[in-house]
C-alpha cells in the first residue's frame, strides 16, 4: 500500500525533522516543525483519576441513600405513635382507624379534629377525601390523556405531531401551585355559577384541577406505548384486511395496553400525593361523605396545612408524620407496579432498555 508507506515516511520525517521529497510532485517538502518528544509519549493517567472513579461510584449510591433516608426519617418521627406513652394518652392506632364514641356525638363516628379540646384523629374522612379527589381526577384524566395520545400517535400527520406533543408537555411544566390557584380563583367560581353547588370548593373542583396535572403524565407514557408497538403487528392486521380503526382497537390498543396501564398507574401515584392543588382548591373540610359536591380534606393537604402549627414531637406532629409514611408507602407501591409493568412491556416488545 503506497499510502501506508507514505504515512510511515511522513511519520519518520516528523520524528527526524528532515526534509523529504514528495513522491507525487517531486518537490522538496520543508521539514515539519520539530515536535516535543514529550507529547508523543503516552502519559500515565494522573492519580486523581482513580480517586474520581471511586467518588463517582459513591455518588451513584446517593439515589438509593435518598430513598432509604426519606423512609427512615419520616417513619422515625411517626414511631412514637407505637412506643410513646405520652402520645398514647392522646391518640393510638386503634383510635385513628376505628369509629370512636366522642362526647356530644350520638353514635361512634370517624372524626378528624386534631385542634379541639378533645383532639380527634379519625383517619377515614381524610382517606375518603383523598379517594374522592383521585377518582374525579382519574375520571377526567385517563380518557383525555389516553385519547389524546391515541390521536397524536395514530391519526395526526407528522408535522402536526411535532407541534402538538411539546404543546401538551407544556401543560406538565405548569407548577402545581398555579393549577391550584386556577382551581381556587377561576374554576371554582365558574363551576358554582354553572352547577350552583353549595360549597364553592369541593371534590369536583379539586379533582378537575388535579386532572390537569396528571393528563401530561398519562399522555406522555401512553404515546410512548403506542409508538413502541411493532410495525409488523399493524402491517399484519392491515394485510388481513382490517380497517384502520379495527387495527387500532384490536391490535394496537391491546399491544400498548401494559404501557397505558403503567401511565395510568404513574398518574394515580401523582394524584394521590399531589399537595398544592388539593390544598388550595378542595376547601379542606374533613367530612366523611360520598358526595362529590362536598368540601374535602386529603392526606397530603392535611400535612401541608397543619404541620406549621404543631408542637415538635407532640401527638399531632407524630400523627402527621404517620400520614406521610402512609402516603410514601402507597405511592411507592403504585409507582413500583407502574414501573414493573413498563419493564415487562419493554421486554415483551423487545425494546432496548
Amino acid at each position: 500500500m503506497p499510502l501506508a508507506d507514505e504515512a510511515v515516511m511522513h511519520a519518520a520525517s516528523v520524528r527526524l525533522g528532515r526534509s523529504r521529497r514528495d513522491p507525487r510532485s517531486d518537490e522538496m517538502i520543508a521539514p515539519p516543525p520539530p515536535v516535543s518528544r514529550k507529547r508523543l509519549v503516552l502519559l500515565p493517567p494522573p492519580r486523581w483519576h482513580k480517586a474520581a472513579e471511586v467518588v463517582i461510584k459513591l455518588m451513584a449510591l446517593a439515589a438509593i441513600l435518598a430513598v432509604v433516608l426519606i423512609f427512615v426519617f419520616v417513619a422515625r418521627e411517626a414511631l412514637p405513635l407505637l412506643t410513646s406513652g405520652e402520645v398514647h394518652k392522646e391518640v393510638t392506632l386503634t383510635k385513628m382507624w376505628t369509629a370512636q364514641q366522642w362526647p356530644g356525638y350520638d353514635q361512634p363516628d370517624h372524626v378528624w379534629q386534631p385542634v379541639s379540646e378533645i383532639p380527634k384523629y379519625g383517619l377515614w374522612p381524610l382517606i375518603a377525601g383523598t379517594v374522592k379527589v383521585t377518582l374525579v381526577a382519574m375520571f377526567f384524566g385517563v380518557p383525555l390523556g389516553v385519547g389524546a395520545a391515541l390521536f397524536v400517535s395514530q391519526y395526526a400527520p407528522t408535522r402536526m405531531r411535532e407541534i402538538v406533543k411539546p404543546t401538551v408537555e407544556l401543560l406538565a411544566g405548569i407548577p402545581s401551585v398555579v393549577l391550584g390557584f386556577f382551581g381556587l380563583m377561576v374554576m371554582a367560581t365558574w363551576m358554582q355559577d354553572v352547577f350552583g353547588l353549595e360549597s364553592r370548593l369541593n371534590a369536583l373542583v379539586a379533582g378537575l384541577a388535579l386532572s390537569f396535572a396528571i393528563i401530561p403524565v398519562i399522555f406522555t407514557i401512553s404515546e410512548e406505548a403506542f409508538g413502541a408497538v411493532p410495525r409488523s403487528y399493524v402491517e399484519a392486521s392491515v394485510a388481513l384486511g382490517a380497517a384502520r380503526w379495527q387495527t387500532i382497537l384490536r391490535v394496537v390498543l391491546p399491544a400498548a395496553g401494559p404501557g397505558i396501564a403503567a401511565g395510568v398507574a404513574l398518574g394515580l401515584g401523582r394524584a394521590v400525593g399531589e399537595t398544592m392543588i388539593v390544598l388550595m382548591a378542595s376547601g379542606n373540610a374533613a367530612i366523611l361523605s360520598a358526595a362529590f359536591s362536598d368540601s374535602v380534606r386529603t392526606l397530603s393537604a392535611t400535612i401541608a396545612a397543619e404541620l406549621a402549627e404543631v408542637v415538635f414531637g407532640g401527638a399531632h406532629y407524630t400523627v402527621l408524620f404517620y400520614l406521610g409514611t402512609l402516603l410514601f408507602i402507597t405511592t411507592f407501591i403504585v409507582n413500583f407496579a407502574g414501573d414493573w409493568i413498563i419493564n415487562r412491556m419493554k421486554r415483551r416488545l423487545g425494546v432496548p432498555l
Binding site: A60, A62, E77, G147, Q154, G173, G180, L240, R244, G324
Partner: protein, 320 residues
C-alpha cells in the same frame, strides 16, 4: 397473549369486508380521540389565556424590582424573585454533580444487570414518584432537625442557628427532589453518544476515565444542560417541599446567609390566594406573580426543548 388473541378468533371474517362500516368506525374513532386532544389543548389555552389576560397589565420593571407594600396589595415581587433564584442556584450546585455522576456510573461503568445497578434504577424511579409533601417532611426530619440540630449541638452549644428552617435546607431538600430529573436527562445524553467515539478513544490508549472525561462528557453537555434546566424549572415551581424547610411568607430583608429564611414565588402565590384578608385587593398582584412564575418555568422548559432538539440533530444517525 392467549387472552388477547381469544376475541379475534371469535370475530367472523365478514366484519372486515363491510366498507361502509369501516368508514363510520374510522370517523368515530378520529372524532373521539380528536376531541380528547382538542380538550387538552383547550384547557391549556384557557389557563394561559386567563393568566396572561389578567397578569400582563401588571408586569413592569417596577413590579419585578420592588418589594410588596401595603399588606401585599401594592408593590412587586423582588424578594420572592431573589429568594427563588438563590434557592434554585444552591439546589443546582448540589444536584448536578451527584446526578451527573450517577448517570455516568449507570451508563459507563456499571454492569447493566448487576444488583447495584438495578437498585439504583429502582431508587431513581421511586424517588421520582415520592409525593412532594413527603419530601417536605423528610427535609424537616433529616436536614433541619437531624443535620441542623446536630450541627448546633456540636458547634453552637445548643443555640438555634442551623436547627431551623433555612435557605440551605430548602435547597438541599429540593435537590433530592430534582435528582431523578438530572439523572434521567444525563443518561439519555450519554446513551446518544456514539459507541465508535468511545472505542476510538480506548483504541488510542486512553483509560476508561480519560475516555469518559475528555470524549464522552463533552458530547453530553447539552443533555446535562437540559436536565439542569428542567430541574431548575421544577425547583422554581414546587412549594410543598419547602413549606417547612425554609420558606417564609414575608421577610423585610433579603436572605443574607445560608441559615436565613427566604421568600419564594410559588409560596407567594399560595399565600396570596389562600390567606389574603382582602382577595379583591391582592388579585392584581397575585395574577402578576402567577404570570411571572409561568414565564420563568416556560422559558426554562422551552430552552430545554430547544437544547434537546439540537442534541438529537447532532447525533442523528448515531448509535441506537
Amino acid at each position: 397473549m392467549t387472552a388477547n388473541a381469544a376475541p379475534a378468533q371469535g370475530a367472523p371474517p365478514s366484519r372486515f369486508a363491510r366498507a361502509g362500516r369501516n368508514k363510520v368506525g374510522d370517523i368515530a374513532l378520529t372524532v373521539a380521540s380528536g376531541a380528547a386532544i382538542l380538550m387538552v389543548l383547550l384547557i391549556l389555552a384557557v389557563i394561559l389565556g386567563d393568566v396572561v389576560l389578567h397578569g400582563a397589565p401588571r408586569l413592569s420593571l417596577k413590579f419585578f424590582f420592588t418589594a410588596p407594600q401595603q399588606g401585599m396589595t401594592e408593590g412587586g415581587i423582588f424578594p420572592a424573585l431573589i429568594g427563588t433564584l438563590a434557592m434554585v442556584l444552591l439546589m443546582t450546585v448540589a444536584v448536578v454533580p451527584v446526578g451527573v455522576a450517577t448517570a455516568i456510573y449507570l451508563r459507563e461503568y456499571a454492569p447493566p444487570a448487576s444488583l447495584l445497578t438495578r437498585g439504583v434504577r429502582i431508587a431513581v424511579a421511586n424517588l421520582a414518584g415520592v409525593p412532594s409533601i413527603v419530601f417536605g417532611l423528610f427535609g424537616l426530619g433529616f436536614f433541619v432537625q437531624f443535620v441542623g440540630g446536630g450541627l448546633d449541638r456540636v458547634f453552637h452549644a445548643g443555640a438555634r442557628v442551623w436547627g431551623q428552617p433555612a435557605l440551605l435546607w430548602a435547597s438541599l431538600t429540593m435537590a433530592v427532589l430534582t435528582l431523578p430529573v438530572v439523572i434521567v436527562a444525563t443518561e439519555e445524553a450519554l446513551r446518544a453518544v456514539p459507541r465508535e467515539l468511545r472505542e476510538a478513544s480506548l483504541a488510542l490508549g486512553a483509560t476508561k476515565f480519560q475516555t469518559v472525561l475528555y470524549v464522552v462528557l463533552p458530547q453530553a453537555v447539552p443533555g446535562i444542560l437540559t436536565g439542569t434546566i428542567l430541574a431548575v424549572s421544577r425547583g422554581a415551581g414546587e412549594v410543598a417541599p419547602i413549606l417547612f424547610t425554609g420558606v417564609a411568607y414575608f421577610l423585610p430583608n433579603l436572605p443574607r446567609s445560608l441559615h436565613d429564611q427566604f421568600m419564594h414565588l410559588g409560596n407567594h402565590i399560595y399565600v396570596l390566594s389562600t390567606q389574603s384578608p382582602d382577595v379583591d385587593a391582592t388579585r392584581p398582584l397575585l395574577y402578576g406573580t402567577v404570570l411571572a412564575l409561568l414565564l420563568l418555568t416556560f422559558v426554562l422548559n422551552l430552552s430545554a426543548v430547544v437544547v434537546r432538539a439540537k442534541m438529537r440533530r447532532r447525533f442523528a444517525g448515531g448509535a441506537q
